[in-house]
């Protein structure tokens, strides 16, 4: 008990500096953006817009959490966008099929749909993880391949036509519902973020992910089993992407192969990187990534409300991403050794 107190004292003393150093500019920018937009446009803080922002930010945050985990372990997951689409059509198809076999049994229909959707994500994650951990192909190449393959499978299942036939309750009672004033997606995103933060900080899995990303050879020498954990990161990433696909499906009311896609994939990487995840691996915190996802969503929303040309918006995203990494590099420099 005493040691804990003594240890806590110096940490408190440096907390002001370290808070700025650890969280960075992001919360400040977020507050600035929100305050600025509220002053400029009353529509911004209207209930409909706020709910819209929360819904989109939740979907992005869920995908970005998984992406961040993979990047922290030193990998890369380009397939998340395609997995969102695949999970969406697989869920819708499975529900339609179960509904045909067991009409009216909503619980069974929904369960089978969700299980099939998450399962399809897990399969892609396992393939990714296996190729990276066992076959030693770089994560970039593997997920580029599975991205292409997964998108293809999604289109094959649907022929590009939206899939209907989901129970009413799944759409109205879940996808478009609100509880405690928040959309369902926000509740689920909060749960995901909390679980991921816990996993990252308090479980062996999280610690080993940091260690593997920090120095994979050192982790091997330290007796960490590498392959299992690398596969784990890809599976988590794909399953979270699949979860986003299911939430989108429930919200829109149909399974579509056009969900997610490259845009979702790019945004998830942007959210992770702006949220302080180092592409070198070993560094990054889920909660900041979640804030970063919220920031990016609000930024996109703000640009829309300000009637900025939609073709110009990706330019903003690009500039911000590069600036974030540049700032991160700047702060890394000239640290002394003792």
């Amino acid at each position: 008990m005493n040691t804990a107190l003594v240890a806590a004292a110096p940490r408190h003393a440096i907390s002001l500096r370290s808070i700025a150093g650890r969280i960075g500019l992001l919360p400040a920018l977020l507050v600035l953006l929100v305050a600025g937009m509220s002053a400029v446009d009353a529509q911004f803080y209207g209930l409909i817009n706020v709910l819209n922002i929360l819904r989109n930010a939740s979907l992005l945050a869920i995908v970005a959490c998984g992406q961040a985990l993979v990047i922290i372990a030193g990998g890369f997951d380009l397939s998340v966008g395609a997995v969102v689409a695949l999970a969406s059509v697989v869920t819708a198809k499975a529900m339609a099929a179960t509904a045909a076999a067991f009409p009216g049994n909503n619980a069974l229909i929904i369960a089978s749909g969700v299980a099939a959707g998450l399962g399809s994500g897990a399969v892609v994650g396992l393939v990714n993880g296996f190729c990276v951990a066992r076959l030693k192909v770089s994560g970039f190449v593997v997920t580029l391949g599975t991205m292409s393959a997964t998108a293809g499978v999604g289109l094959m299942i649907t022929n590009g036509i939206p899939v209907y036939g989901m129970p009413e309750i799944f759409v109205k009672g879940f996808g478009r519902a609100q509880a405690l004033g928040l959309p369902t997606a926000a509740h689920i995103a909060l749960i995901v973020i909390l679980v991921m933060v816990f996993a990252q900080r308090r479980t062996l899995f999280g610690r080993y992910v940091y260690a593997i990303g920090g120095n994979v050879d050192a982790a091997v020498v330290s007796g960490v089993t590498i392959q299992r954990h690398i596969v784990g990161t890809y599976v988590v990433s794909s399953v979270l992407a699949a979860l986003t696909g299911i939430l989108l499906t429930a919200q829109v009311g149909s399974g579509q192969a056009s969900f997610g896609g490259d845009r979702m994939m790019l945004q998830s990487i942007a959210a992770a990187v702006i949220g302080g995840v180092s592409l070198r691996g070993g560094v990054g915190r889920i909660e900041i990534v979640a804030i970063s996802a919220l920031f990016l969503t609000i930024l996109g929303n703000a640009l829309n409300l300000l009637h900025v040309d939609s073709r110009l918006q990706p330019v903003f995203l690009g500039v911000i991403m590069v600036a974030a990494v540049a700032l991160d590099e700047l702060s890394r420099r000239s640290k002394p050794r003792v």
Partner: protein, 536 residues
Amino acid sequence: MASRPNGRGGSEAPARLLTATETRMNVEIDSKPATPLLQLRGISKRFTGVRALDRIDLDVRAGELHVLFGENGAGKSTLINVVSGTFPPDEGTFHFGGEEIHHLTPQRAREIGISPVFQEFSLIPSLTVEENLFLGREVTRGGVLHSREMRKRASALIDELGFDLDPAQRIDDLSRAHQQMAEIAKALLGRVRLLILDEPTASLTERETGRLFELIARLKSQNVGLIYVSHRMREIRALADRVTVLRDGRHIRTLDAATSTDGELVELMTGRTIDLLFPTITHQPDKVMVEVENLTLADGSVRDVNFHARSGEITGIAGLVGCGKSELIRAIYGIERTSSGVIRIDDAPYEFPTPRHSLKRGVAYFPANRIAEGLALSRPIRENASMTGLDLPAFARFGVLRQAAERVTIAGIMEQLQLRPPNIERSAGALSGGNRQKVMLGRALTRELTVFLFDEPSVGIDVGAKLEVYEFMKRLVETGAAVIVVSSELPEVLALSNRLYVMHQGRIAAELTGAERTEQNVLSSFFREHLTAEVA
């Protein structure tokens, strides 16, 4: 840009080059006889709140070898980084060759003849030796690389230096010693007036060290100034003209090497008296903990080795770089693949070793390269130190970490190892060599272990930290652990071990015990093996 400096002789063979340097230097010395080659006055450097250098004065004369001596963190690295232009000093004046220098960059430093050889290699692993030598000063003809010419000059330089190095080999295919040679060759390619060597012998064999010393003598006779950082007394004795002692970023004293004693230097460096470098260890050999029979590795680096280590004693393995001594203990730990043979730990056969199982059986390994295999530099000390023990219930239950317990345990361990400063939340990347080794040692204290495999335990750490490592081994052995020390540093492995194996070309060349353990015997067993190998 790329071809111009070469026109001035940037890549001529060094002998000719140095002669050119010599004549120029003579002219300068004639005109200003009293001016040192390098003159630093009141150099200070601060990093975010830490004062790394505090008003340092330093003179290096042409033709002089000036040793910088100090513990890790004393400011040696910062100082040579300032001299070589890596970062600017906050205050103070910098004169080189009589001229005041402002805004020095690494490129500019090389142009005016300041050539550093850093411990952390400035080589690009995926390029060849030759490509690395000419990096940034390639010989070109009309914008096209003139590779034949570069190959010729590289070979000429390497021959001149007497290094056993193939210019066409990729850096990542080379051993650490050969990388070090490439690094030195790179520094000497071009016009050199001040050469900075940061522990250049840390990974060289005796023979290569000899070559380097000859080279240093030649450079000195050609009026090149040298700044030399080393913790090895023997080298300081052999080479130094003057020694500057640094402590806590301050200049303590500059002494003439000839009139100072080892004790005096160490005392100035540490601010305390150190009597003996190697502690007296009481060995009480007990039962055989590690036994290896006819072990051959998949890559052939170790062949038909029989070997055992007992608890309560230090078993040493000596040998030249590349003789397979590291590979042997790495195989026991489970990092290198074996093709035949038997390993037994505590009488139980140990098939298909992996690091995880080795730790479970009480075997720990301390790698030679603490950056590549030891630490995750971006992660805090706490996480690095607890890494090997996380599978224990003391640190984690059902996959969930016990953070408070971890923090208390690691803080206690690092306090016991005297980590300075004692903040376990700092990232490992911010630590010096000695402190990094302490984090590695700390890992051993997180769990019950009986066998300790040390691979080059004192590479890159200062005298004070070495002492702590040796004391650590002493405590282990005297509490009944089996310790195996692999080292290229003969005095170290001779002084520490109770029984000593000598390895040569993947085989055990000799086993020396008691009074047989002499430098003479070790060297002659290399030699004998060499002869028989050549005859066969």
